[in-house]
Amino acid sequence: MNALDQTLALAWRSLVQVRRNPWELGDYSIQPILFLVLFLFVFGGAIAGSPDDYLAFVLPGVIVMNMLFVTVYVGHGLNTDLTRGVFDRFRALPIPRWAPLAGRILADVVKQVLCIGLLLIVGYLLGFRLATSFGHLLVMVLLVLTFAVAFSWVMVLVGVLARDPEHVQLFGFTALFPVTFVSSAFVPVETMPEWLQGFVQANPVSLLTEAARGLMNADGAVAAPALASLAWAAGIAAVFAPLSVWVLNRRLARG
């Protein structure tokens, strides 16, 4: 059995729980559906004039927000493995050292695809219609997934540093909420105070959302925000992947 099979087996392990207990996925699915519906019907009128007009604007934003939230579970799962000794069991097996992490991130990608699919279906039921092509939609999904994999490394770091799984969630969501909301994911940038606009425009959540909007609604630039999001993803991965691995090894060397 080679390293790829072992990684797949470890990814299977994270996914099989979801299959048996769909409520597990509820963590990632009920919440974004709730957000989508709430935003649409509560804020839609105020922000875009009517819920119908807001849907195309907010759906990409909710997809991006949910992508970030799902990555928290990479850190949560890793921390659970570390604190419960499961990670040690894996390390005492003849498998590559990176396989447990790779398995988690791979499983996370599958969960991300499921969540995006779910949001698109709910969006469709609420009246969303794709203004571009299936190809554009696929590019949007790949872009979001690429960013997800890069951002997972931030959560790996949180997972290694946190005392227990509950703290991963606490810290993860607490940090992600402001980052997501101080962006153009739900509200047009122009409506915000000027001093905030600079930050919002540089926020990768804004950039990714704008690229996704362009790819789904054909109403804005795609290349510029997409490239900027990819640059962010590359930067995040370049900093956090080595840092996370270094901190993880330090934690393991502590005993």
Binding site: M1, A9, R13, V16, Q17, P94, A253
Partner: protein
């Protein structure tokens, strides 16, 4: 096939503290070695180095003839490890946990399932095998944990405090399983805080204290040094303790440990009891309570180091502090 464990001058430092200090030990093929010591003695750290989870600061260790540092990957192919806590995925079923390990060890899907089912039957978990582990009792988890470390039929098995947190029945069940493994020729290194456990399972015992080996030998040899039982004495008046201690020392041949109005000393013969009572009575020392109890780890430490072991067993049962976090 070399199933021995050879450890020579193993050292491990953690931020200036020496957790394992020049530990040397030998386990012949097919033997069970008991690593006995209180919390913080360096037992877990030693096992983690032998299981390739932690690199030694100095010294050498060969497991199955393979160096744990230079040939770590090959060591992992022949060992099994069961930690202090059940290191299985709570969200998976027992069967899924075992299948996962089997798959990671390179078994094909069908073979992995067959091996998992075989172990579930073997460990009386057939019914529970399809339930998530989070619904298991402590004893069931420990059985699954042990089963998980046996998936690859390891030639050498490390058991780190395997019976911590188990009730007496589950503990005896675990002991029977370890004996069966021993009969099948598996080399076992187990750590424990309980002399009774080392006595029940180990062919030989190494006693660790503050990272050092302070005694080694068979259970019988150690007991001969420690005394099989402990005389326990509580006086009516604390001011008579010194006088009583002198009497007990003369009779048992070893200096008793005195704490307030209580005394304890290792004794070889139960028949000493009436004599102690007689002599103390003759000396006018009032005895409130007198008894014999089996030698505990504390007694071993008392007689080997002159100090009580730093860990009292009940407080350690939670198991999550101290050594296993180190």
């Amino acid at each position: 096939m070399d199933n021995t464990i050879e450890v020579e001058g193993l050292v491990r430092d953690f931020a200036g503290t020496r957790a394992v200090d020049e530990v040397s030990l030998q386990v012949p093929a097919g033997h069970v070695l008991g690593l006995l010591g209180p919390n913080g003695a360096g037992k877990t750290t030693t096992v983690r180095m032998l299981a390739t989870l932690l690199s030694p600061t100095a010294g050498r260790a060969r497991v199955g003839g393979l160096d744990v540092v230079d040939q770590a990957a090959r060591v992992r192919e022949i060992i099994g490890l069961t930690g202090q806590y059940a290191s299985v995925d709570e969200k998976l079923t027992g069967r899924e946990n075992l299948i996962l390990i089997a798959r990671l060890l390179g078994m094909k899907r069908a073979a992995a399932r067959a091996r998992a089912d075989e172990l579930l039957v073997d460990f009386s978990l057939r019914e529970a095998g399809h339930r998530p582990v989070q619904t298991y009792s402590g004893g069931m988890r420990r059985r699954l944990d042990l089963a998980a470390s046996l998936v690859g039929r390891p030639r050498i098995l490390f058991l780190d405090e395997p019976s911590t947190g188990l009730d007496p029945r589950a503990r005896r069940d675990l002991w029977a399983r370890v004996r069966r493994l021993q009969d099948a020729g598996t080399t076992v290194l187990l750590t424990t805080q309980y002399l009774e456990e080392a006595d029940a399972l180990a062919d030989s015992i190494v006693v660790l204290d503050q990272g050092r080996v302070i005694a080694e030998g068979t259970a019988a040899e150690l007991k001969a040094r420690v005394g099989t039982r402990t005389l326990f004495l509580r006086l009516a008046r604390a001011d008579q303790a010194d006088a009583a201690a002198r009497q007990v020392a003369t009779l048992t041949g070893s200096e008793p440990h005195v704490e307030g109005e209580t005394l304890s000393a290792p004794v070889a013969e139960a028949s000493l009891l009436p004599a102690v009572l007689r002599e103390l009575d003759a000396a006018g020392i009032e005895v409130a309570e007198l008894g014999l109890r089996s030698a505990s780890l504390d007694d071993v430490f008392l007689s080997l180091t002159g100090q009580t072991g730093s860990g009292d067993a009940p407080a350690d049962a939670a198991g999550d502090s101290g050594e296993d976090a180190a």
